[in-house]
């Protein structure tokens, strides 16, 4: 029993790690293609059929690049920072149930690495820790642009984290649990049971905070090229930079899974679609949404982000929590 559990967990960890590293790589290809099509371009076309091997070419480039640490940088922190981003992105996935349970050869597999009863809190906490990656990277690089990027990381961190926590509070009150499996089971009765109908405001607030959490376009202040070169990642190259990227894409998938699980019925069967495919469709829709907004919307200034989060979204979230409480009481 014990050894079987350990082996099963290790296999799950390896699958999640390998799968999402590969998906992060493939995500860059999809992003470039989708952005290109939306801008009437073709995107990568030359490496392999329709440029599909561009991922491989980029990987080879990243791995064979010189591992470069600038002279003025704090060596140890500079080296650790990208690992924080990538590691927290993958650790956060430990408490996410990706698929419904399935059976292989009489052995029931739960596709979740660790079903802890505070899963949601764990995921959000670890993802929030991931922001230390850009923060430390920017401060350790010994570069003005990096420092600006780090300062913006701090701003962003202070802004969205409040909204994330408060917006998720109302669904947590309704379900009465922090386990994502409980969230999923709560919505098992079909589309009409989805929490998005009961908590539309919380859904929108959480989605907005999710964009800020993954540094995607309306809130990509950390490394906006036109303003701060590449922000915290200015001095990074090669695989250390690649780790930041893998972390960002893994976070995009994590947010996709979270939103699907909390608000959109998770891995319950959807009409005729089996649950595993249903959740994949939802996650890929949110991944597409990340790219879609990147192609469509401009990004905002740091002061606008703080204004939005503290003066608009946080009051709305608080009111939402209060109203939910009053409705639940009577």
């Amino acid at each position: 029993m014990e050894s079987a559990f350990i082996i099963e967990t290790i296999i799950k960890i390896l699958v999640v790690l390998g799968l999402f590293s590969a998906l992060a790589g493939f995500g860059t290809y999809v992003e470039r293609k989708v952005l290109a099509f939306m801008q009437r371009r073709l995107g990568p076309m030359h490496v392999g059929p329709y440029g599909i091997l561009q991922v491989l070419a980029d990987g080879i480039k990243l791995f064979t690049k010189e591992d470069f640490i600038p002279q003025g940088a704090n060596r140890i922190i500079f080296m650790i920072a990208p690992i924080i981003t990538a590691a927290t992105a993958f650790i956060a996935m430990a408490a996410i149930p990706m698929f419904p349970e399935f059976t292989i050869g009489g052995y029931t597999v739960k596709p979740i690495i660790s079903d802890i009863n505070v899963g949601l809190l764990f995921v959000l906490g670890v993802m929030a820790t991931g922001l230390y990656g850009p923060l430390l990277a920017g401060m350790a690089s010994g570069n003005k642009w990096s420092l600006l990027g780090a300062a913006r990381t701090a701003i962003q961190y202070l802004s969205y984290e409040v909204v994330t926590g408060l917006s998720i509070l109302a669904p947590v009150m309704i379900v009465g649990s922090l386990s994502l499996i409980d969230f999923n089971n709560y919505q098992s009765g079909g589309v009409s049971d989805w929490l998005i109908w009961k908590q539309p405001v919380a859904f929108i607030l959480f989605l907005i905070a999710g964009f800020a959490e993954t540094n995607r376009t309306p809130f990509d202040l950390l490394e906006h090229e036109a303003e701060v070169i590449s922000g915290y990642a200015t001095e990074y190259s090669g695989m250390r930079w690649g780790l930041f990227f893998i972390g960002e894409y893994a976070n995009m998938f994590t947010i996709g899974f979270l939103v699907s699980l909390i608000f959109l019925g998770g891995f319950n069967d959807l009409w005729f679609i089996p649950g595993a495919i249903a959740i994949l469709l939802k996650v890929f829709f949110f991944f597409f949404l990340f790219l879609w907004t990147r192609a469509s919307w401009p990004h905002i200034r740091p002061d606008q982000l703080m204004w939005l989060c503290w003066k608009v979204l946080m009051p709305i979230a608080v009111i939402n929590v209060v109203i939910t409480g009053i409705v639940m009481m009577f």
Partner: protein, 203 residues
């Protein structure tokens, strides 16, 4: 051919207009109203709609350059060509040296001689393309339409001296059939005969 006509149209569009900019909000309440208007008045969603529409229409404008090429304008000024006379195949250049004189980048060099027929011909004709700014003065000043600008713009090479010698630019004798009368930069317009007035001699 459509695109070529587009190049030839030298009239600039008259459709310019100034974008109307709303006054900047002053009070916090006005700022808040603007945010509500921009986010809830579907302005954000109009952006999303446009990008999705373009993606579905799939109206791609990319030119996959080495495989596809855009037509260049007839007056395009790329690597020079030295032309021959169409009937006899003799070189058009009479070695007058005007191009060498007028070249503001000072990159043309000519050596000339008088050949056995008593014609003056260039023995060497080189253009240093590292210095040439492709202004087109040489083609414009040439009285014989001997040096013209061709359409070869892909002039990346391992050696700076490539394309620069007389043999590279001169029309080969066996390609004489393919040489067309040059309609481009510095050439007389098609209506030159009609437009030129007789010099009045009686004063």
């Amino acid at each position: 051919m459509d695109m070529l006509q587009q190049f030839q149209n030298r009239y600039v569009s008259n459709g310019y207009y100034k974008v109307k900019i709303e006054p900047y909000p002053k009070t916090p309440w006005e700022k808040f109203k603007r945010v509500v208007k921009r986010s809830l008045n579907y302005e954000l969603f109009v952006g999303l709609k446009i990008t999705l529409r373009e993606m579905i229409r799939f109206n791609i404008h990319t030119v996959q350059y080495p495989k596809e090429k855009l037509p260049i304008g007839p007056r395009y000024r790329a690597i020079h060509r030295l032309l021959r006379l169409l009937e006899s195949g003799n070189e058009r250049c009479i070695g007058c040296g005007l191009c060498e004189k007028i070249c503001i980048a000072n990159c043309i060099r000519i050596d000339t001689k008088v050949d056995e027929n008593g014609r003056k011909v260039p023995t060497e004709y080189t253009i240093n393309f590292g210095r040439c700014i492709f202004c087109g003065y040489c083609a414009e000043v040439c009285p014989e339409l001997a040096i013209v600008h061709g359409g070869d713009y892909e002039n990346a090479s391992e050696q700076r001296a490539h394309f620069a010698l007389k043999e590279d630019m001169l029309t080969p004798l066996d390609k004489l059939k393919e040489q067309k009368e040059f309609p481009g930069f510095g050439a007389p317009t098609p209506e030159a005969d009609r437009l030129i007035k007789k010099t009045p001699l009686a004063y």
